[in-house]
């Protein structure tokens, strides 16, 4: 069983998203450890990109702050090396295809393996293009996480059948950001997923309140919370502490 899959074995998984280097890596380190103490089962670490087209204003802001602070892919690799001294839960990178491609896919993915990154999420890499990185990910045993959207319909079965690690179900249309309401018929999507794979699925995009998180986790195996956390980071900045969580 992949390390990611086993993270779902003790109840519903809580998966926070944190942009590396927002506002600096030292703060990111504190946030990650606070997340672990608060019961995170997997952590999604964002490598910032200049033009995050799947992101709403909140996470766009985190990307801008992180890049302005001078963070780079290499600095993030070093940061993960140091995290791994005490953080044991699965870690996945969330970034954009060009960040992986321009680093050299083989270089990037083999480094992931070396430093203990368990998976990669690329929101601009749909099923049709996954051969860009999938063979290399397999070679190094890093899970390339697939996404399913409210518009996926007939594509759900196809995507689920080849999915690895866990399936990321996008809760609503549009980009990341907090939403007051989620109206997508997620239980029908999950049903098709279950018919086609036994890997776990987690719901993300727009989950901002404990009630939403609870509702979404009833429907699936876990929840991903991004913008709601980034808003806290934006508010507290370098003063982010355990109590802020």
């Amino acid at each position: 069983m992949s390390k990611i899959k086993s993270a779902f074995t003790n109840g519903k998984a809580f998966i926070p998203f944190i942009t590396c280097g927002d506002p600096d890596l030292e703060t990111t380190g504190r946030i990650v450890r606070a997340a672990v103490e608060n019961g995170a089962d997997i952590i999604e670490l964002g490598i910032p990109f200049s033009d995050p087209t799947a992101e709403g204003p909140v996470i766009q802001g985190a990307n801008v702050r992180a890049l302005a602070g001078g963070v780079t892919t290499d600095k993030i690799f070093d940061f993960v090396r140091s995290l791994r001294k005490d953080v044991k839960i699965p870690l996945v990178f969330m970034t954009y295809s060009n960040v992986v491609f321009s680093y050299g896919a083989k270089e990037f993915i083999s480094t992931c393996k070396e430093i203990g990154i368990d998976g990669i999420i690329l929101p601009d890499l749909p099923f049709e293009e996954k051969d860009e990185f999938q063979p290399i990910c397999r070679e190094y045993g890093v899970d390339l996480i697939s996404l399913i959207a409210p518009t996926s319909q007939k594509r759900i079965a196809m995507i689920a059948k080849e999915a690895e690690g866990f399936l990321y179900i996008v809760s609503s249309l549009g980009v990341t950001g907090t939403r007051s309401e989620i109206t997508t018929d997620l239980s029908s999507i999950v049903k098709v997923v279950r018919e086609n794979t036994d890997i776990p699925c987690a719901i993300g995009f727009g989950i901002s309140t404990p009630e939403q998180a609870e509702n979404m986790s009833k429907l699936s195996d876990g929840v991903i919370v991004g913008s709601a956390i980034i808003k806290l980071v934006e508010k507290y900045g370098k003063k982010f502490c355990r109590g802020c969580w």
Binding site: D51, G56, S102, S146
Partner: protein, 396 residues
């Protein structure tokens, strides 16, 4: 196993969020159907001819030819199209296609404002809603076009993220599309983005080279020696090149905006300074840093101020079939003024990049050689900015 589609060599593809996949698949199906539909093509050529003023003239620029003292120069007058640029060709095609698909709302990005104006125009004509995303920086450079779009009934949304120019307008239009797909078509303005856009936009712009070929054969009874066009995303250039790609004796030359020079950071010359990457739905060349962060680019021309280039151009470059040359702000402004004075034709500052390169090579060519320059748009929109460049304090 679904396969990658829309490749030009290694370039192209569909690097977009899953949320948009069914939308582009549906668009591809509609395009494959309607491009062979006689009724669709009849309606489109009626719009081209009756509404947009096609065919555009291929004009022998005798004074320019004599002034440069070399090759014979023809101008393909896309500036005389309705709305003042080649952008209308693509927009009428896509709007008609969107209408057939049952869409009621068009969204678009715009740089110089020409594509936004063209989209707003087609939306008005076809009773569709229209929202145009424009970098805030560009809304200032091209204030008149913002007014024009509003006059035509469109909403113009200034984009403040990133560099607040064309690339950010594209990102924002993509974000908007992921949030509203059912009734909305994203009318992309150039031969870029995910498949099928590069193919669709080329299909509608290829009318330019189809006409050039007919017109030059009629006037000269032979093909030109060179076709020159400016390249932002590359739609007027691919439109100008397309029907000559198989005619190996015709040189195809794309002119990129070098801004303050390709040895500076203030440039938008993608082929000359960029690297292979993946962005805005496609694999192609992009201006970017070592870590793949997209570079802030610069050109005096809002329409060429884009860090990427369409995948078909990237492939024509790889194959050596087309040449891509850098042209600086200063050279383009000189050409803008020179064409105005010699021929009484004020070209768009984008098109002036193509004129500038012709001014370099025409004098080196024999008098029996023929050059066609595509004048992709008219320059009225640029007069205030060029005046300011020359130190005159003019505002629109």
């Amino acid at each position: 196993m679904a396969e990658t589609k829309g490749r030009f060599g290694v370039h192209g593809g569909q690097y977009i969020p899953e949320t948009l996949m069914n939308a582009v698949i549906e668009l591809e199906k509609a395009y494959d159907h309607y491009k062979n539909d006689p009724e669709f093509n009849r309606e489109l050529s009626e719009l081209f001819n009756e509404y947009a003023n096609r065919p555009s003239r291929l004009y022998y620029a005798e004074k320019l030819t004599k002034a440069l003292g070399g090759a014979k120069i023809y101008l393909k007058r896309e500036d005389l199209n309705h709305t003042g640029s080649h952008k209308i060709n693509n927009v009428l095609g896509q709007a008609l296609l969107a209408k057939k698909m049952g869409k009621t709302r068009l969204i678009a990005e715009t740089g110089a404002g020409q594509h936004g104006v063209a989209t707003a125009t087609a939306a008005a004509l076809m009773n569709m809603e229209c929202v145009v995303f424009m970098g805030e920086e560009d809304t200032k450079r091209q204030a008149l076009n913002v007014y024009r779009m509003k006059l035509l009934g469109a909403d113009v949304i200034p984009v403040t993220s990133g560099t607040a120019t064309l690339k950010d307008a594209v990102s924002e239009a993509m974000r908007e599309w992921t949030s509203r797909i059912d009734d909305t078509h994203y009318c992309l303005g150039s031969v870029m983005g995910p498949h099928p856009f590069p193919t669709i936009v080329r299909y509608f712009q290829a009318v330019i080279s189809r006409e050039i070929k007919e017109q030059i054969l009629e006037k000269e009874n032979r093909l030109p020696d060179a076709v020159i066009a400016c390249v932002g995303g590359g739609s007027n250039a691919i439109g100008s090149f397309y029907h000559f790609i198989e005619d190996k004796e015709v040189r195809l030359i794309g002119c990129e905006a070098a801004g303050r020079g390709i040895d500076t950071f203030e440039t938008a010359a993608t082929i000359n300074t960029g690297r292979l990457g993946i962005f805005h739905g496609m694999k192609s060349y992009f201006c970017q840093d070592k870590y793949g962060q997209i570079a802030p680019v610069y050109s005096i021309s809002a329409g060429l101020d884009y860090p990427g280039i369409g995948p078909e151009h990237a492939n024509l470059h790889d194959m050596g079939r087309a040449e891509y040359v850098p042209v600086t702000d200063e050279e383009a402004v000189n050409a803008f003024e020179f064409l105005s004075r010699t021929e009484g034709i004020i070209p768009a500052i984008e098109s002036a990049h193509a004129v500038a390169h012709a001014m370099k090579i025409a004098p080196t060519m024999d008098k029996d050689k023929i050059i066609v320059i595509t004048i992709s748009g008219r320059g009225d929109k640029d007069c205030a900015a060029i005046a300011r460049y020359r130190g005159e304090d003019i505002y629109e």
